[in-house]
């Protein structure tokens, strides 16, 4: 993302402001931020978190604040601000970015570890295992342990169904 002032350097300071019902979002590089007198970017983190539901998707300040709406149910950020409730299950995807911060302050963790519908439990376990294997694989490659990496790669193949399961010895 480019700085919206100098349009050269990458933006590292993101500032979101709500004026009336409209949201404005600025993405600035460090130099421009300093020039604008925004010295302490962390002080804006809170405002971002509370008000910036999916803010970075809105963008282009020159066009003004277009609002994100859930493609499935038409629910908007303003609606969420008003009621504190979402419109439909898909809203969690639509507003994922802004919700992430909110969930962190609200809950013990941001990842569900409890019950899952039986139909999904298996794919969920497979997904978890896959992530773990991929992490291990990356580590093995970093450590140049290619023997281990090859073994992990085979396991991943089996799990994703890319190769038939090995027959038992």
């Amino acid at each position: 993302m480019q700085c919206c002032v100098c349009k050269e350097k990458p933006a590292t300071v993101h500032l979101t402001q709500i004026v009336g019902e409209k949201m404005q979002k600025l993405d600035l590089c460090e130099d421009c931020a300093k020039a604008k007198g925004i010295n302490d970017p962390t002080s804006f983190a809170m405002a971002d978190l509370m008000l910036g539901l999916g803010a970075s998707q809105v963008l282009d300040p020159s066009v003004g604040a277009a609002e994100i709406k859930c493609p499935r149910c038409g629910f908007s950020q303003a609606d969420f601000k008003k009621s504190g409730r979402l419109g439909c299950p898909e809203c969690y995807q639509t507003f994922a970015e802004g919700l992430a911060g909110l969930l962190k302050t609200m809950h013990k963790g941001t990842r569900h570890t409890g019950k899952a519908p039986e139909a999904l439990r298996k794919s969920r376990e497979t997904g978890d295992r896959l992530k773990l294997l991929q992490k291990k694989l990356a580590k093995a490659i970093d450590a140049e342990d290619y023997e281990q990496a090859a073994q992990l790669r085979d396991e991943i193949k089996v799990l994703t169904g890319a190769a038939p399961a090995k027959t038992a010895k």
């Binding site: 299950p89 969690y92 990842r111």
Partner: protein, 357 residues
């Protein structure tokens, strides 16, 4: 349509239900929030969509073996009085009582399960148990939920778990709660530090009717607040630990009050008895607060031979909607106060004044 009042357990029978530690833990409840994958949440769905959701969910629940003998009805078929009675029984929330077309309720005969349809979420299913039985309640609602997931497609995300209208319920969608009678801690002025330390553990302490209500009759609801990032069992176990501690503190408070300030205890209980047994007009709020002291007196053996059920039944039948139900004419609040006092005096006729040790 079934008559709700034929269906409901009578207040007398309800007061006879017993469970572990019911001297202090009046009841336990576990509620799960669930939603259908392909529908808007009730607060955002338009009326026709809510009706469709209700028509999908209501038969699915009624068909479960646990709910074979149940009261299943759309909220718009219930009178305002019926709804208020369900609130006073703690079977539905005050929010749900305000619902009409497109919302519903399914309650089983034993009143151990009650499902609200299209409250804040498509499904709010609760398992209820007398006394301290939150683990049993969790196991029961877990089974009901597992049976229901075979018939309905829930909104579930691998990362976020069960998706709920309000992000505060996300993940497990679980609320584990117990209703506690804590007159000892209130009299000993230890209740506030207890509430604060319970709050620090991420648990909420509320009044008798849930969110935003005061603790009438020294009754407090303790429940978990966070629903994401922990398993259901971890939440249940934490609640169990904390509740056991509160029970211990309450028992200690009662014991030390009796040892150190017996006159204070006898004074409170004696006055409560005096007013309840002799008043000719009394509000429901005052009744609850005094009944709480009477209940404490029974627990402390100051009313030998008087069963706790007498107070627990009065707790229920002196509430506004229950009182109104017994009379066909519409009563004003003042008329209810007269009637309530008459009823309480009558019930306490054979209860002698508290003994002093």
């Amino acid at each position: 349509m079934k008559d709700l009042h034929q269906f409901l357990i009578s207040p007398l029978d309800a007061a006879q239900l017993h469970g572990p530690n019911d001297r202090i833990v009046m009841s336990s409840r576990v509620r799960l929030a669930r939603n259908l994958r392909d529908a808007s949440f009730p607060g955002w769905a338009k009326k026709p969509e809510r009706v469709k959701i209700l028509e999908t969910i209501l038969p699915a629940i009624s068909a479960l073996p646990e709910m074979a003998d149940s009261f299943a009805e759309a909220m718009d078929n219930l009178t305002a009085l019926d709804k208020q009675i369900l609130v006073e029984r703690h079977l539905i929330s005050r929010e749900h009582a305000a619902k009409n077309v497109g919302s519903g309720i399914v309650l089983n005969r034993e009143e151990s399960f009650c499902v609200m349809i299209n409250e804040e979420d498509h499904l709010r299913m609760q398992a209820l148990r007398p006394g301290f039985q939150i683990r049993e309640a969790w196991n029961a609602i877990d089974r009901l939920d597992s049976a229901l997931e075979k018939k309905l497609i829930y909104a579930f995300d691998n990362e976020l778990g069960y998706l709920t209208a309000c992000p505060t319920n996300l993940g497990t969608g679980i609320r584990v709660s117990a209703m506690l009678h804590l007159p000892g801690l209130v009299l000993a002025e230890q209740i506030n530090p207890i509430i604060q330390s319970v709050n620090k553990l991420g648990l909420a302490v509320r009044g008798l009717y849930g969110e935003g209500t005061e603790a009438l009759g020294n009754v407090f609801q303790v429940s978990n607040q966070m629903t994401l990032g922990e398993t259901e069992t971890a939440i249940v176990e934490r609640l169990e630990k904390v509740l056991s501690q509160i029970i211990k503190h309450e028992e200690n408070a009662r014991q030390s009050l009796l040892e150190k300030k017996p006159k204070v205890v006898f004074n409170h209980i004696g006055r409560a008895y005096g007013i309840l047994a002799n008043a000719h007009s009394i509000s429901s709020k005052e009744t609850m607060n005094l009944l709480s002291l009477l209940r404490l007196g029974i627990d402390l053996d100051l009313f030998p031979g008087t069963p706790r059920a007498l107070v627990d039944e009065l707790f229920l039948v002196t509430q506004p909607a229950h009182l109104q139900k017994q009379i066909s004419d519409k009563l004003s609040a003042e008329e209810r106060d007269l009637l309530r006092a008459d009823m309480v005096r009558e019930r306490l006729k054979n209860v002698s004044r508290p003994v002093t040790k």
